[in-house]
Symmetry: C2
Subunit: 140 residues, 2 copies
Amino acid sequence: MSAKIGQRSTKQRAAVAAALAEVDDFRSAQDLHDVLRRRGDLVGLTTVYRTLQALTDSGDIDVLINSDGESIYRHCGQSAGHHHHLVCRKCGRTVEVEGKAIERWTDAIAHEHGYSDITHTMEIFGLCPACARESTEAMS
Amino acid sequence: MSAKIGQRSTKQRAAVAAALAEVDDFRSAQDLHDVLRRRGDLVGLTTVYRTLQALTDSGDIDVLINSDGESIYRHCGQSAGHHHHLVCRKCGRTVEVEGKAIERWTDAIAHEHGYSDITHTMEIFGLCPACARESTEAMS
DNA sequence: ATGTTTATTGATAATGCTTTTCATTAAGGC
DNA sequence: GCCTTAATGAAAAGCATTATCAATAAACAT
Ligand SMILES: [Mn+2]
Ligand SMILES: [Mn+2]
Ligand SMILES: [Zn+2]
Ligand SMILES: [Zn+2]
């Protein structure tokens, strides 16, 4: 929402924002750096990292850590409101999912054990239809 | 469950297992390496990593990736079966929770979108009763 | 427009976790 | 005890991310 990621607007930050808008999958900083290079926007890798960090801090994009321990970023559709993700572990294709049931369940469990001030993380990983098809074709 | 982490039993593996039994919160490989050193068990860091990897693969211990992207391990009570955790963000106190509802829900969502080969992560964080009490006392 | 200030950039070096190498050691079966 | 080979671990490599710091360029004043 708020674009307050710094006090000066630069072409580098605009380029990172554009790249995030173009691909709407979760991507690593280095992936996005490559996307930028292919687009013709020469932005330093350091700046990509810095900008993603700033956008994450301001809540404008979502970040999650994949099973390799690497951070991946995404500009979410309705960045307003708590939601979760179904992510393809191969290509990053993402579906945003919302689940009141989960929210209620985690709160119930936590209170049951006397825990307060609850938060939770929850992401689903799998192979998207396209990547699954690719996999089976490769076997034949 | 199965202790089949290899075909030979060594004192190093026994030492790692003992260290895991002694501390029952989530710890990094390097933390456990220090615990071993303090115990007087000289086990190479490489071996600690390898053993934790093996124990994780065989399902004997749980691993999760913290917000720094570092893997932390824990020997769980009933190590049989998939489960999740309710972790105190202050002191690390952990409660193991099981939730068939979550498992069914994630699978349903994933299949609904055509995703296959599903896994998921889900952890609950909060303040345990003891830490919450401490917090309110500090305010008075 | 030109100059001044200083936030921002980015090439490079450094950090830190984890994995790979590979020569040495020691289980387990005989 | 001997043999086979899994297992160990010191050292090097790999890899994502962060820290440095001199050069650059927004924002603002003149
Ligand atoms: Mn999202
Ligand atoms: Mn557990
Ligand atoms: Zn995919
Ligand atoms: Zn606590």
